[in-house]
Amino acid sequence: MAKASKGKHQSGPSNHSESIDLVRKALYGNKKVRSLKMNPDMWEKHEVINRAWRIHEYRQEKQRENLLKNQFSAMKIACEELKHTSETLYKAAMSDSINRRFPVETRTPTDTPPRLSK
């Protein structure tokens, strides 16, 4: 389908060269990269906002690290207790799976409007 349409679209050589020129113009046409024009007041605002955003990112990262550390320490405590409680369960828990994979059904969650129930 796409091939037939493409062949039909490229009937004339002038059309072909026009498409090539259009692509070349889109890729290399505008060379100017205009910088932002900011007066001192806007500059101060920009700097303050960036510092605040970096602090926010740092706090988020610290929170995530703390969560992982808590999980890790909880696993350590639980496995230590399991080791003293039951040797069989401990060996089963520590068995290494070479080709461990996430399920194919794993997907990124999406926020969608709720489905209307009838």
Binding site: K6, V33, L36, H46, R54, L67, E80, R100, R101, T108
Partner: protein, 287 residues
């Protein structure tokens, strides 16, 4: 309590691509920070919340930490090479010719691979960068064929691709040194997550022949590579609507996912949350 800088700088009209000057090397004139709009590394953003990044950080990494946990592993006792800081075979002895002699090569000319560590919250795997590259064979005959490929790669990645030139002359392939043969895009940060989410959620499910990545893919330093055929290019939503407007045919491409993991199996396990492998559900979670 934020400290505001005293000397306010007025930006120029056009971007100045600054190189590292002598003063910067001497530490007297520091380069512009990344948030400075005049800086070479300035990227406005983040432009939106990244679903894939949040999913990887909040859901996948705790699962990887739980699944890869090993209790009471003392790495100092596992193998001898873990304790050595210098793992190259050195010339040891009182021979005067051994002094300052370069170390011997590894047996079989093998490279020095990174030392594997047990997974802990500090060295959880993460994707460092994604390199998308292709080689267009028709570009050897006609250079303008590469323009469509560049346009397509710019559409699907959002970044300007760089041209890959041939390094050697190979006459059976009509290849000459310096001829442009392909394009390459290195994705990091937000554009990387955007590309990966589009690839794993929209493009690969539509590819009928795609059964998953090879379970033996990846080198021993945590890089996962795979190739996709040319039929995958019109499946991208950026190209689907305007596929007929491309004057030349579009090739497939190679995707190289670079993770910071030092273990191939851990890298495969982490990447399988995005793109399935052919042995997807054999030893995964039950139920």
């Amino acid at each position: 309590m934020l400290g505001i800088r005293k000397n306010i700088r007025i930006s120029v009209n056009f971007l100045q691509r600054r190189t590292i000057t002598v003063k910067q090397k001497l530490g007297k004139n520091r380069p512009l920070p990344g948030w400075d709009p005049n800086s070479e590394y300035f990227r406005p953003g983040p432009t939106m919340l990244n679903r894939l990044q949040e999913h990887l950080h909040d859901t996948i990494l705790p699962d990887v930490l739980a699944a890869s946990y090993r209790h009471d592993i003392d790495t100092a006792l596992s193998t001898d090479e873990h304790t050595q800081k210098d793992r190259l075979p050195r010339w040891i002895g009182d021979n005067p010719y051994y002094k300052n002699r370069p170390p011997q090569k590894m047996r079989g000319n093998k490279p020095l691979l990174p030392v594997k560590e047990s997974v802990n919250p500090k060295n959880l795997p993460s994707i460092s960068k994604v390199v998308v590259s292709t080689m267009h064979k028709e570009a050897l005959v006609d250079k303008t064929q590469l323009l469509s490929t560049m346009m397509a790669f710019r559409s699907i990645t959002g970044l300007q691709p760089e041209i890959v030139y041939a390094r050697k002359d190979v006459s059976p392939w009509k290849l000459r040194s310096g001829v442009p043969v392909g394009v390459k895009v290195t994705l990091t940060g937000e554009s990387m997550y955007t590309f990966l989410s589009i690839l794993s959620e929209l493009v690969l499910p539509q590819l009928h022949d795609f059964k998953g990545l090879s379970p033996t893919s990846g080198d021993q330093t945590g890089n996962i590579s795979f190739g996709l055929p040319s039929e995958v290019m019109p499946l991208f939503p950026q190209i689907e609507a305007v596929y007929e407007m491309y004057p030349h045919s579009l090739p497939g491409f190679n995707v190289n996912i670079t993770t910071n993991s030092k273990d191939t199996r851990l890298a495969r396990f982490f990447v399988s949350s995005l793109i399935p492998f052919t042995d997807g559900n054999k030893e995964g979670y039950v139920g």
